[in-house]
């Protein structure tokens, strides 16, 4: 006897419609969840076919926030796309900035000063803290908590956003990284504020975990729900905490070693079941590792310039070439594919959106579970519609 019965239906794609259809099993109910549903994280829509409350078919529908980001990128200068990357995954503008800056730097063969690399690592890890904290809050909101975990998460997120604001001038649309460095240096006292935040974050996590991690209702709602196998995860291009929750050790910070990550000592937590609880816990553990990286980076950050002196702000025209560059964003692998023909605008500007590609497996995860679980599974995938729809 347990809270979570094994799913009665096979989760193979294609086996999505119930075979039995007789007088004992009534009609299927087709529900269009979204785009204005409280827990579809924006304007996401799921066409769900229900047998009772069990999901037998689920088709994600999106594009309600589509603005053709890539076309805009092709019609704007390299620099002009930078503020637009803030608006992809609007919770994680710093990592989006970094991914784009890194791609352009690879395209143009630019170097980045040491202090800027450290700042980038610090900002990326702060972003990871911010994103994972928010995710835990949203996930619990999807589980039906009355806002309490979300409010605690937002209370802490606010502190990180204040840091971003005093550094970049904006809380969410940071537009901070530049090709060859960062825009401005950290103001006086900023690093100390970041240290204070980092040191206090662990105790917040402890309290947060006391509220949630041992909670029987949360465990009943998430353990054994939406199991993702490692094989499917890799094949479906799932990245980030989802992939690691499925037990695959693939963290680009370790694999590609971009930035200065090889200089820091941190571990990559792995899940064993690939279920919603693992996805939640892997993120919590990742936050603890992020705190370690932050402590090291804030300890070691050197003084020096933050911008490559050779970097050009105006009239930036990389030589013809092509690059695909990726970093480990909080939601997964965020990549930029750029083709330059020597002009001021990229010929092709492509964003690899982790949120969108992680949604590939949504139906596989939800089949056979109830509609309440579908909402929680969607929450655990962690999407931001600004990135899914672009």
């Amino acid at each position: 006897m347990s809270f979570s019965d094994p799913s009665p239906l096979s989760a193979a794609p294609g086996a999505s419609v119930r075979a039995v259809h007789d007088e004992f099993h009534g009609d299927l109910l087709e529900v269009s969840m979204g785009p204005h549903h409280p827990s579809t994280h924006g304007v996401f829509r799921m066409m769900v076919t229900l047998d009772g409350e069990t999901v037998v078919k689920l088709k994600p529908v999106f594009g309600y926030l589509h603005r053709n980001h890539e076309k805009i990128g092709e019609n704007t200068s390299y620099l002009g796309s930078m503020p637009y990357t803030d608006r992809l995954d609007y919770l994680c503008s710093m990592t989006n900035n970094w991914a784009y800056a890194l791609a352009v730097e690879k395209l143009a063969g630019q170097a980045v000063p040491e202090r800027a690399e450290y700042l980038r690592v610090i900002l990326a890890e702060l972003t990871r803290l911010l994103n994972h904290t928010c995710l835990a809050g949203f996930l619990l909101q999807d589980c039906g908590a009355s806002g309490t975990p979300l409010m605690y998460a937002f209370r802490e997120r606010e502190k990180i956003l204040d840091l971003f604001e005093s550094l970049s001038g904006s809380r969410m649309m940071c537009n901070y990284q530049r090709f060859g460095g960062c825009r401005v240096d950290a103001p006086a006292g900023w690093l100390d504020a970041a240290r204070a935040l980092t040191d206090g974050y662990g105790s917040f996590l402890d309290e947060y975990e006391a509220l949630l991690t041992g909670n029987e209702i949360l465990m009943a709602r998430t353990q054994g729900i939406g199991c993702l196998s490692a094989k499917l995860a890799v094949s479906a291009g799932v990245t980030g905490p989802l992939l690691r929750a499925a037990g695959v050790a693939y963290d680009l910070r370790k694999v590609d070693g971009y930035g200065f990550y090889p200089r820091f000592d941190f571990r990559v937590p792995l899940g064993a079941h690939g279920d919603t609880y693992d996805r939640y816990m892997v993120r919590v553990l990742e936050m603890r590792e992020s705190i370690r990286i932050l402590q090291q980076a804030l300890r070691d950050i050197p003084a020096g310039p933050i911008m490559d002196p050779k970097a050009k702000l105006r009239g930036f025209r990389p030589k013809p070439g092509e690059v695909y560059s990726r970093i480990e964003g909080p939601k997964g692998e965020i990549g930029f594919h750029l083709i330059s023909e020597g002009g001021p605008n990229p010929y092709r500007y492509r964003v690899r959106p982790p949120s969108l590609i992680n949604l590939t497996i949504l139906e596989d995860l939800c089949l056979g579970h109830s509609i309440a679980d579908a909402v929680v599974i969607l929450g655990s995938i962690d999407i931001v519609l600004g990135e899914v729809d672009r």
């Binding site: 550094l167 537009n175 309290e207 006391a210």
Partner: protein
């Protein structure tokens, strides 16, 4: 045991309930219209045009209508028309000035790229965020009169950056003046004419109160 996790959670919420009455670390709310948080110096919202003199903002705009910001602006919210004539700028040099300089703040996304690309330090970011208009087509379109703010205002908003900019501009101007003087002296020596009178330095204006740009 069943329920221990739930009790633990209840203890956490009880702690927060009590904590919100005495612990400012937990109770972080700012009662907005009455209290305001201090904006960090780096905070940016919408651009404004720097003028040297508060008395005559249109006459002392640093902007020379080079249109770089118009070209670089990602959402294309800036519209500039160059003047037909030239006016002396703050250092007395004859310059083209913007006959029209409009920023559509409904379109502007506060990215600061115009500020970064401006070679004349003529456009900077404002910190006024309480902008509301009943008509988005007119109320949010700011023309150069609404956009012009004196340099002293810039000093108020971003003291560090403004001091740097002033230093840089002063050295640039000095260099330019010396060059002009040398050229003039050379010319005078050549033509045996009296040298031109150097232009007066910009007047120091008292700090005016910040004015919201929205009309």
């Amino acid at each position: 045991m069943l329920g221990s996790g739930l009790l633990q959670g209840l203890a956490v919420t009880a702690k927060n309930f009590v904590g919100s009455f005495h612990d400012p670390k937990r109770f972080v709310t700012t009662q907005y219209p009455e209290e305001k948080t201090r904006l960090p110096e780096a905070y940016r919202n919408f651009p404004f045009l720097v003028s040297e003199n508060a008395e005559d903002p249109m006459g002392t705009l640093r902007c020379v209508a080079c249109q770089i910001c118009e070209k670089e602006c990602p959402p294309q919210c800036i519209y500039i028309e160059k003047s037909k004539d030239k006016k002396p700028d703050a250092s007395g040099k004859q310059q083209i000035y913007p006959a029209v300089f409009d920023i559509d703040t409904a379109v502007c996304m506060s990215c600061q790229i115009c500020v970064e690309v401006c070679p004349f330090d003529a456009i900077k970011m404002d910190q006024v965020f309480e902008l509301a208009a009943t008509d988005r087509f007119t109320g949010l379109m700011l023309d150069r009169h609404a956009l012009a703010k004196p340099n002293s205002y810039f000093h108020q908003l971003h003291p560090t950056e403004a001091a740097e900019v002033d230093d840089r501009l002063a050295t640039e101007r000095k260099a330019a003046e010396e060059k002009a003087r040398a050229a003039a002296a050379a010319k005078a020596a050549a033509a045996a004419k009296p040298p031109a009178v150097p232009p007066p330095p910009p007047a120091v204006v008292p700090l005016p109160p910040p004015v919201p740009p929205a009309a």
